[in-house]
């Protein structure tokens, strides 16, 4: 008990260490990016369609400390980050943190719905077809391949055209109630489903070759029950890893989906910030993504031993 607690503590400490390193790296990269963009930082902050009088420019330079040496600016920037201050959006003149907080919930809703849908669909597809007749498999893997490789931008427009514009089943967009979540969630889930199902099926098929399947079957356990109770558990670790990794990519997917569907969220926030060159916001979202990624991969790693007892003593 104490031994495993020590192992767990060490693991958590290691994860925390690497989490801090990742965040520091992301923050530094974001800072460097702003430095490396051609043109002076005041112009970059002003964005493409703004002129800015000398007075305005001086005010911005003073506010952001551009009149100080780069090393000084970097330390100041890190210092502020440590205090949880992500700075202020130039364009919106609001703290980046509060902007992101306002837009977070719709994106979390969308991401969770998409993730849940993707995992359910992938499990159903893989369990139903693994090791079955080749024709089944072929159909399933073709559909998975298509869903994994079709641009979600396009999927979103097709879904809208059919279910919103033609049959009026769902509203075009927005984030008002369940109905407006369906199409965006499906759009975001489809590429994930494809990837997850492919990996899961291969895992299942490998597991079904294992001797324990024969043992279980010989005890009179049904075919489907073997898959669900035994084989699926074997694939759970790679599935979890992959899901964790894909969750990190959901913010990227949300940019497109939120734009097409006119939904509020982090995705549409960052798209607008990028096009307006609102760098404090862009940097804020980059750091948020890095943070989410770190949290998810930590959780995933801590879950391994829960799922697979063989990993507990490692």
């Amino acid at each position: 008990m104490t031994a495993s607690a020590t192992v767990l503590a060490a693991r958590v400490a290691r994860r925390l260490g690497s989490a801090v390193a990742v965040l520091l790296g992301a923050a530094t990269l974001a800072f460097l990016t702003l430095q490396l963009i051609p043109g002076d930082p005041v112009s970059v902050l002003l964005g493409p369609s703004n002129a800015g009088s000398p007075e305005v420019r001086a005010e911005i330079a003073r506010e952001y400390g551009f009149d100080r040496p780069v090393a000084d600016q970097y330390l100041h920037y890190l210092g502020r980050l440590l205090q949880g201050d992500l700075g202020q959006s130039y364009q919106l003149q609001r703290p980046v943190w509060s902007l992101m907080a306002d837009q977070l919930w719709p994106t979390v809703q969308l991401a969770l719905a998409a993730l849940l849908l993707a995992v359910v669909l992938a499990v159903v597809s893989a369990v139903a077809t693994a090791g079955r007749r080749p024709a089944f498999r072929a159909v399933a893997s073709v559909w998975e391949l298509i869903s994994a490789s079709t641009p979600s931008y396009w999927v979103g427009i097709v879904l809208l055209t059919v279910f919103s514009f033609r049959f009026h089943v769902f509203p075009v967009a927005g984030a008002e109630g369940f109905a407006s979540l369906v199409l965006p969630a499906v759009t975001l889930a489809l590429p994930l489903t494809g990837v997850l199902a492919q990996v899961l099926r291969e895992g299942l098929e490998a597991a079904l070759e294992q001797p324990f399947v024969v043992t279980a079957r010989s005890r009179g356990v049904g075919r489907t029950a073997v898959r669900l109770r035994h084989a699926l558990r074997h694939c759970a670790v790679p599935l979890l890893t992959l899901t964790g990794w894909l969750t990190g990519s959901l913010i990227g997917g949300a940019v497109l989906v939120e734009t097409v569907f006119g939904r509020p969220g982090i995705g549409s926030l960052v798209l607008q910030a990028v096009s307006a060159k609102d760098m404090p916001v862009v940097i804020g979202v980059v750091l948020l993504s890095a943070f989410v990624f770190v949290v998810i991969s930590t959780v995933v790693e801590l879950l391994y031993p829960v799922i697979d007892p063989r990993l507990r003593s490692a």
Binding site: P48, S49, T259
Partner: protein, 553 residues
């Protein structure tokens, strides 16, 4: 709408005075358009509009965006309103006097105007707003420029203000008619720039609508102000607006906007792509309104200070060697008219006589190039002189180039010029390099458009005071005394006769010197349901919701 401003951002930053009139988007008056309703208006209902851009900042005193000013027009009133002929009419000011030297303007304010938070509109509010615009903390990127050489506002009595300038400032009335110089309630001003920029109920004005809700990334909602009783004379009715609510949805994807319109989920959709126009027109219950934007067309500017275009014959050869008619028609699906003048036909003092005056004539081009000494020919078929190929450089900025199919149009131009033996190089540059090169006068050709409802835009294009080195956009790189004389004369007076004399001359000379090749006039393509009546456009082609109503059907 303020496309090319982007590439100019840095260069422009330097010159405030040059920016004075850079209202790539401006003017505030409303005009009844073809959309004017039939039948008796009924009150009530919600109008939902889909637009392609979401305001980055909602602060009318700080923002530069057309879309901010367009939506906020319903919430904020101005001192005067301008009609589509350019004439000014009373609004919050019942009358005004302009000093002979254009250095001060005295406004007599309307009585009984209240903001939607209950506070009163008076002379001190005008002063507070104008002072707020020029305050450093506001970080105004546009309104402060519209105020020009502003030195302050004198409150003469509660109903009278005098606005002062350090230099003659003829365009002030026009500036005062825009949303950017609209009025916040005193309480709203106290709330601070952050609150104003964030949008929603903090943005309190005296307009026909209240900014009742805003969900970033989704929509903005305006609700009727029942007490509104001070409509500008340019509107078609008085009193409160007909609509209960206006919901503006932000749908950046063109096909989604069009689909939302055809399926009845929105009643108005802006920025319909040209390729969707035919389908939309064929849909029962919908119609399309297409209106040419005022101001600078989408033009090619030829750098007259740099070889080989320092020779007017070579410039002329290029101007006549591009099949503008055909190229524009193909690329814009026939929706944008080809241009003949650097400014559009909907701009005051447009020179009609230029139409048809410089048709496509590759034979003439060949002859001009021969005369200029470009008589050789290399293996690729390009003309040469003393062993040097006739090459021009026209840099592009990838983030802007695809807009309105400009990249494709550029290829058509390239192909046309290849036929007359001119090589066009189109390097793809990042914004920093682009600005340095283009505004440093190191490129041969620059493309840009500049919407604005005033022929003074010609000052920006041709006056040496607007040279890129001074933060301007004069991409001809020529100093021409007649350009300077005429455009200076035009901007220092509101006298119709003078303006009608000098501005056509400028357009004519620009074409004669072949420093400009106008390509097309940008057009606003707005789709709307037949149920929508009375929706009007102002001089800048922005939708105004005040007179709009929904027919029951």
């Amino acid at each position: 709408m303020r496309p090319t401003l982007s590439r100019l951002g840095r260069t422009l930053a330097v010159g405030v005075s040059g920016l004075l009139l850079l209202s790539a988007c401006s003017s505030g008056g409303d005009t009844t358009a073809e959309a004017a309703g039939s039948g008796k208006p009924v009150a009530g209902g919600t109008l939902t509009t889909a637009v392609d851009t979401e305001p980055v900042s909602w602060d009318i005193h700080a923002s530069t965006q057309d879309v901010t000013a367009e939506i906020a027009r319903g919430v904020f009133d101005s001192l005067v309103s301008q009609d589509s002929e350019g004439k000014f009419h009373p609004w919050l000011a019942t009358k005004w006097e302009v000093a002979d030297d254009f250095k001060s303007y005295t406004f007599h304010l309307r009585d009984g105007v209240t903001f939607t938070d209950g506070s009163k509109f008076d002379a001190s509010v005008v002063k507070a707003n104008f002072d707020h615009i020029v305050a450093k903390e506001t970080k105004s990127l546009y309104a402060a420029n519209l105020l020009g050489p502003y030195t302050g506002t004198d409150v003469i009595d509660p109903r009278t203000v005098k606005v002062n300038f350090s230099k003659a400032f003829a365009p002030f009335l026009q500036a005062a008619s825009t949303t950017y110089l609209g009025f916040y309630s005193p309480e709203a001003l106290k709330a601070g720039a952050g609150k104003l920029a964030a949008g929603g109920p903090a943005d309190v004005g005296s307009g026909p609508f209240v900014f009742s809700a805003y969900t970033k990334g989704q929509s903005a909602t305006l609700t009727r102000n029942p007490d509104y009783a001070w409509a500008p004379e340019t509107a078609t009715h008085t009193g409160a607006a007909y609509l209960d609510k206006v919901v503006v949805r932000f749908l950046p994807t063109a096909s989604v906007r069009a689909g939302a319109l055809t399926s009845g989920q929105v009643q108005v959709a802006k920025a319909i792509p040209p390729q969707n126009v035919t389908a939309l027109k064929a849909t029962p219950g919908l119609r399309l309104i297409s209106r040419a934007n005022p101001g600078g067309n989408y033009n090619l500017w030829l750098n007259g200070s740099l070889a080989p275009l320092d020779d007017v014959r070579v410039r002329k050869a290029i101007q006549r060697g591009i099949d503008v008619e055909q190229d524009v028609k193909t690329v814009t699906f026939g929706q944008y008219p080809r241009a003949w003048s650097p400014i559009s036909p909907t701009t005051p003092n447009y020179d009609k006589s230029l139409v048809g005056s410089w048709p496509y004539d590759p034979k003439l081009s060949a002859q001009l190039l021969d005369e200029a000494g470009w008589t050789g020919k290399d293996a690729q078929g390009y003309r040469t002189k003393a062993g040097k190929r006739l090459t021009v450089e026209w840099p592009q900025l990838s983030i802007q180039a695809t807009r309105e199919g400009r990249d494709v149009l550029g290829q058509a131009v390239q192909a046309d010029l290849k036929k007359i033996g001119v090589e066009v190089k189109r390097p793809n540059l990042d914004i920093g390099t682009y600005n340095t090169k283009v505004y440093g006068g190191k490129a041969n050709i620059i493309d840009l458009s500049w919407p604005r409802f005033d022929p003074d835009v010609l000052w920006l294009f041709f006056n040496s005071g607007s040279a890129p080195a001074k933060g301007g956009i004069n991409a001809t790189f020529l100093t021409d005394s007649s350009f300077d004389t005429w455009t200076d004369q035009g901007r220092s007076t509101l006298d119709e006769k003078t303006r009608a004399d000098v501005y056509p001359k400028v357009q004519q000379r620009g074409i004669d010197l072949a420093v400009v090749v106008p390509l097309y006039t940008q057009v606003s393509l707005v789709g709307q349901s037949d149920k929508v009546k009375g929706l009007t456009f102002n001089a800048s082609n922005w939708l105004t919701y005040y007179d709009a109503w929904l027919a029951e059907k």
